[in-house]
Symmetry: C2
Subunit: 460 residues, 2 copies
Amino acid sequence: MDFFFNPNGIAVIGATDNPFKGGYHILNNILGGYKGRVYPVNPKYDSILGLPCYPDISSIPDDFDLAVYFIPASSLPAAIEQCGAKNVKGIIIESAGFAEVGNEGAELQVESIRLARKHHIRLWGPNCMGLLDGHTRNVFSFMYTDEWKTLMTPGNASFVVQSGMLSASFLMMMLERGGMNISKMCSIGNKCDVNETELVDYLASDPHTDVIGLYLESIVEPRRFMEISRSTEKPIVVLKGGRSPSGAKAAMSHTASLAGNDTITNNALKQAGVITVHDFIEMMDFMRGFSMTKGSRNSGGTAIVSFSGGGGIVTTDFLHDSNLPLARLSGETLSAIKKVFPPWMEPANPVDVWPAVERNGIETVYNSVVDALMHDDHVDSLIIHLFSGRMDTEMLKPLAEMKDRLEKPVIAWLIGTGDRFRIIRKELEEMGIPVFEEMGRGVSFLAAVKKHYQGKGQLP
Amino acid sequence: MDFFFNPNGIAVIGATDNPFKGGYHILNNILGGYKGRVYPVNPKYDSILGLPCYPDISSIPDDFDLAVYFIPASSLPAAIEQCGAKNVKGIIIESAGFAEVGNEGAELQVESIRLARKHHIRLWGPNCMGLLDGHTRNVFSFMYTDEWKTLMTPGNASFVVQSGMLSASFLMMMLERGGMNISKMCSIGNKCDVNETELVDYLASDPHTDVIGLYLESIVEPRRFMEISRSTEKPIVVLKGGRSPSGAKAAMSHTASLAGNDTITNNALKQAGVITVHDFIEMMDFMRGFSMTKGSRNSGGTAIVSFSGGGGIVTTDFLHDSNLPLARLSGETLSAIKKVFPPWMEPANPVDVWPAVERNGIETVYNSVVDALMHDDHVDSLIIHLFSGRMDTEMLKPLAEMKDRLEKPVIAWLIGTGDRFRIIRKELEEMGIPVFEEMGRGVSFLAAVKKHYQGKGQLP
């Protein structure tokens, strides 16, 4: 599998110098990061982007590990044969026109697999956008933007998706949002050979990957997929497309995926300890949160620090919806909080610090309150509401340290305006405190964290 | 009720020139918009912010309609008596320390109501942040920021909230996000006299208000509230805080609200045609959407235009979750779409336009597809996925026009990066097409629109 991510030499079949075509962007993206040998292939050119261009695969003077294929589907069998002679190990087929378009395409796909097996070549795709690697900066995708050059930094979140959008424009939007950086992004399309199960297996032992997210329209080796999910300690977040009968029908013409019975899949995934989500942004919120969460001791309830009574109440309602207990604070904690509270106000969880902040200043209050709560044995997690306009993240450094040391997950709900909002959000997430725009999402994430660290692996 | 929004003269009891105190901001905010007479009251000053300051209410030379009160709770009864002598019509009490802090405060609140009735003075609050009016620019709030001066423009969304945060920092964040502008924002705190029911009644006949959002911790006149909700054509969106037992307990110490039995409240609200939501951002997403939606004929299903197979599939799954039928496209529509599709691709709903765009360009494809769908009798609503990096909103002008004329609601899911994303989002929303960051949220909103226009008022 490693030759897909770190190939010794790449041919780009269908490279062009026309920036309105995908073949240009594949080559341009490869040249933007990949350090090895690159061979553009196209009979129409002598050279492209400063590299000699070859009329066909056979004319390439050296052997190479990987071919990226972006010419019409029908030429694939011939290309596989030629790649066989060059000792190619894998082909990433980014063209469409295979099983997703009907019988003829499906036959072409079957024939291609047969030929590839004969030559011991692994096929990735077809009908996909290849891969990106945040560490090596290998980008083998026809993505039309090279925003990745500035937005992509090495991270610990890896993805396997059956949607090019998620590995291209949507990914760029998420990288710009910040807080999550990627290790490997794999867009696998029709997954005629390399599939999600094999990749999850690979990522489960990838030292650069701590959390795995998948958008799947089907699971082709469900039993093995569940086994791997059950045995890895890494959180696996799955968004399943085609949960509904009409969605399943659409999945058939998208990636030729047999979406299967949703109830069965969903139960099996849950039993295997997989975290299931329904929305793309939800998947990213969970991935970002898990990428900066080290553990959860699960030995009490959640404390809420709010600067708004209403915010605390609504968060409490969400905790109830998710069956997360609200921590009963110890007498010691209540006394510590009382010291910074106005005399007329009785401390309680949720801890509404606003009147205390008005009285004693934001730093004194947050420091005392947060310290008391985090050291309370009845508190195993903390939700903190923050307003970017009135804070300096410096005051939360002790919290960030305690969170990992005590294995008590912390999430923040942040409001505010302008650049300051984005700066504070960035600083919080660099400290390892994930920020949620939606309170309900934050609480669902916390529930997922607690469940994940409660121990998976119970057999059905 | 109108004297609260358009008073003839205002006294600010507790005005100061210390910008670290709320009394400064009340005065500063009033002076930033209000056009009438203003009387600061504080025995410590001769003048504040260029205005003569009076040692007490009795020293004010003229009568005035409204007092904004921001000194300790215990002085309220005396202030009411003095206001009585000045023919004051209403007092907005922004100080805390009343029923929400226990028995003593509750008694003070009861005594204040008794005195106010004697003098025919209406009380707003206590423990609240007053009001903002997007049309008059009257801002009677101790909000510490004057960002409203640049962010607030006249709109058609009005709010009644039992949370100062929602009428201050959170509101500023939402105004900065754009797409929704406010008519009246009412923060009513403990609502000891003026309550949500009276305000909804007022807003239901306010010509500047088309949609009403409420954050409530209790409903004090539930029967009348339901009657008004049932009889108005305006969408009413309610977020109820204190749905859970622990949330209800917290509501008691926030605004002294008896949150009541959630199941009963929720059913009654639904029967009255109220749209219920659970999260603050969700409330704002719905308010924004309704503020730009004119109607829904509800005579078919939803069409999806997507640039990503995965996006279309996940949206289809959400439609199924919300019991919204996917439109069965007419033969005529399918033929029209086929003309711009590549020959190997069979048109279907969701309509994945990406391969067609690659072939025929974005404008031709979107124009043909959108026109065919909107004129199909089987289509009563449209979800359009857009990528800001590859579009000009000009091409969607016909869609915006058709949406209102044909009463077929349209929502957009937009992805993209940088300023361009925000510009396109702004342009779309100025055209009346609400943009959602979360697909699932957009579909829930569409379900709420369809339900709202299906006719309300069925009796339980």
